[in-house]
């Protein structure tokens, strides 16, 4: 494939990755920002989103679009409630102590993963996309007849992949509006800035924590429901998103929402481009290298504020 179309294809692939990654990493970032909890089980909430999407889509089972919409509405909610339950039953009882929350969420990771293995099984299962048509993309060149368009071999995307990008953008804007423009968002931000003071003003901090933990997991689940018609639901699928989310959140600055978005786009697109032109392994090496550089030269991340 020539360079131009090749680059366009790589960018499109990268944009889809970035869209899902932005949602997943945003969940991790919010949880850390508000609760100061490093949620190692985040990838498993993502996986649960995909697995539940398969379950819901097959139970509804009429038109693929109906099943998908049902999954998109119900799966994140269920995952959110489950995560809120984890907060109440586990995290609250260890007082959100940083070291102990890491160990507790590692335990949660294994419980969720192995429970899925025991019930859902070890197979990868597909969810049918609500719509999926191949869109061939044109490219231009300066030929003998001057400027002309043509359709290079293999340069294409699918309508569903474009939908994933659009859906992620809409969800992220909604989230941003909710945090900055609503009372619930205000309460969240107040808890983030000073939880003791917020409590003194009558904000039910414990409830806020549960809701935020559920919201974070729900965002990961939404990302997974969007990606599952492209990939497949599989009990070990939470590993990569967890790693990439951490990379994104560290680069963007822990707790910084705009930083998370920027880093997700950076990592997603670079992953797409480097994987296409070189190898996927090099893409991972690059991402890890960026993390190392950020930690050395800007330990708070691109847009993170130092906590005094």
């Amino acid at each position: 494939m020539e360079f131009g179309p090749h680059l366009l294809l790589a960018s499109l692939e990268g944009a889809t990755t970035a869209a899902v990654l932005a949602l997943t990493a945003m969940g991790l970032s919010i949880v850390f920002g508000v609760m100061r909890v490093v949620n190692v089980a985040h990838g498993e909430f993502y996986m649960l989103g995909a697995v539940l999407a398969w379950f819901i889509a097959t139970s509804v089972g009429t038109h693929p679009a109906l099943g998908f919409v049902a999954a998109l509405l119900i799966a994140p909610l269920l995952v959110g409630f489950l995560a809120a339950g984890v907060d109440r039953l586990i995290l609250r009882h260890i007082n959100y102590d940083p070291e102990r929350t890491i160990v507790a969420t590692i335990g949660t990771l294994y419980i969720l993963q192995q429970t899925t293995l025991m019930t859902f099984g070890p197979d990868a299962r597909p969810v049918e996309p609500p719509f999926n048509s191949r869109i061939a993309l044109p490219w231009f060149e300066w030929g003998e007849n001057g400027f002309e368009f043509y359709f290079p071999w293999g340069l294409s995307t699918t309508s569903y992949k474009l939908f994933v990008i659009a859906a992620a953008v809409v969800i992220l804007i909604t989230l941003w509006l909710a945090i900055t423009r609503t009372k619930a968002g205000l309460i969240m931000r107040a808890t983030q800035q000073d939880s003791d003071m917020a409590q003194a003003f009558g904000i039910p901090v414990k409830t806020v924590y549960s809701v935020v933990f559920g919201l974070g997991a729900g965002l990961a689940a939404i990302g997974a429901v969007l990606v599952v018609p492209i990939q497949q639901a599989y009990y070990l699928m939470g590993h990569d998103p967890l790693l990439l989310s951490f990379i994104v959140v560290i680069i963007g600055g822990l707790g910084s929402l705009p930083g998370t978005i920027i880093a997700a786009i950076l990592i997603g697109i670079s992953d797409g481009i480097i994987s296409v032109f070189f190898t996927p392994t090099l893409a991972k090496i690059f991402a890890t290298l960026v993390v190392a550089m950020v930690l050395v030269f800007r330990p708070t991340g691109l847009l993170g504020k130092s906590t005094s």
Binding site: S156, Y234, L236
Partner: protein, 427 residues
């Protein structure tokens, strides 16, 4: 002496103290000798229950269970019942070696059996050799016949990649095209495909114009396809792992209406319904099959019996769940290997773990095995020197959403020169 012995349960240690030093390697031998007629023959079954090989593992399990039931119904081996001791290896080489060790030292198995994924075989076989445990793999890798393993490791029930691709190359070159791009998983099994198919197609006057290796745990594939050169006439694909359906689907999306000829190993769609949404583009393409998934018009009575025994319908899916598609191209290897083990144990008059080397020698003596209920996939020719079997290969065309047999290769098509003589190695 005791320092040389690995820590084992106290019971074993006590037994050890009471018996002669010679019994050290086989601590429970005494018990066998007392009750040899009723004690079951224990076959350690190394199964990929979890990890990337899980769907194969499920069907290897069902096939093994069915084969053992048939053997026991016919009176067992040397009058003793056969018992399967299954252990999950997580499709992981490190765990594989541990499982082999458990078979030999904890479960007191007579033999180890059933490993599929080639990296797990590579990880486990050396340990089996050290423990002097006969180890029967059902893997397809060229690792056995290449001489890389040891005298205790055999592959008598399934053919290897080198012989398979050698039989495919003439068909690809004569019917589909000479410029081939290969897409394969980036581990031992895929490398066998890469090396031996490249060699075989060059002998047919063709060439491999690009080799695209994909990590077996990959979940997204579109990014690999732009590396396919424009002058490719044939895509040769073989993929494994949980994301094979995504792989094939994204390949279809990449090519759209202007696809080259496509030749795949059915590994790319094992345990996947060929009529899954997004796979319509496969109509008219060709697949290698180890054993035809769809019951063919001229189905043999042996295939019919085997299908029924394992619980597979005429479309290659489970009789109880039409969505649960089998790994029909590979799992017959379990059935046939177990029948070979039975014949080997009978020929060696196998009584207990002391006779393990006699069992290996008895199987090394074997050669031609006709198509029969014991060998429903087809006739086999076992090479005792290389510990590898050779057999017919099948090429099917996707026709109206079914795999229809288009070509059957002869056993001679698959033969190649010996690369090792295991019989010269000492036990």
């Amino acid at each position: 002496m005791s320092k040389l012995i690995k820590p084992t349960p106290t019971l074993t240690r006590r037994t050890l103290l009471g018996t002669a030093a010679a019994a050290a390697a086989t601590p429970l031998l005494g018990r066998y000798a007392q009750a040899q007629s009723s004690e079951p023959i224990r076959i350690g079954f190394q199964v990929h229950r979890t990890g990337i090989g899980a769907s194969y593992g499920r069907w290897y399990d069902r096939t093994t269970t069915a084969a053992v039931k048939r053997i026991n119904d016919m009176g067992g081996i040397n009058g003793r019942p056969v018992e399967i001791v299954a252990e999950d290896d997580g499709t992981d080489p490190k765990r594989g070696a541990e499982v082999v060790e458990k078979f030999a030292t904890q479960h007191n198995c007579d033999i180890g059996f059933g490993t599929l994924f080639s990296h797990v075989v590579y990880g486990s076989a050396p340990r089996a050799g050290e423990l002097k445990l006969p180890y029967f793999v059902v893997s397809e890798g060229h690792h056995v016949a290449s001489g890389a393993l040891n005298r205790w490791t055999m592959q008598p029930g399934i053919t290897d990649v080198k012989s398979q691709v050698q039989a495919m190359a003439p068909f690809v070159a004569n019917n589909l095209g000479k410029k081939v791009t290969m897409i394969y998983p980036d581990f031992a099994f895929g490398h066998d495909h890469r090396d031996y198919f490249s060699e075989a197609i060059e002998k047919q006057g063709g060439e491999v114009v690009a080799k695209i290796a994909i990590p077996p745990s990959e979940t997204s594939f579109t990014k690999y396809f732009p590396k396919i050169p424009r002058d490719t006439e044939v895509i040769y694909h073989v993929m494994i792992g949980p994301a094979v359906l995504t792989f094939v689907k994204e390949m279809g999306e990449f090519f759209g209406p202007s696809k080259p000829e496509i030749f795949g190993f059915l590994d790319s769609l094992e345990a996947v319904d060929i009529n899954s949404p997004g796979l319509e583009f496969l109509e008219g393409t060709y697949f290698w099959e180890g054993n035809p998934r769809y019951a063919q018009a001229d189905q043999s009575s042996h295939d019919k019996m085997y299908r029924e025994a394992v619980g597979v319908d005429e479309n290659g899916a489970s009789v109880s769940d039409a969505k649960d598609v089998s790994t029909y191209s590979h799992m017959f290897g379990c059935w046939e290997t177990l029948n070979i083990i039975k014949r080997g144990m009978e020929a060696a008059d196998y009584k207990g773990t002391d006779d393990r080397s006699n069992l290996i020698e008895a199987i090394e003596e074997m050669s031609d095995m006709p198509l029969s209920d014991d060998h429903p996939q087809g006739a086999k020719r076992f090479n005792g020197k290389t510990h590898q079997t050779f057999g017919h290969q099948y090429i099917s065309k996707v026709d109206s959403g079914k795999l229809v047999l288009a070509h059957t290769s002869s056993i001679e098509d698959t033969l190649y020169e010996d690369e090792v003589d295991y019989t010269t190695q000492s036990f």
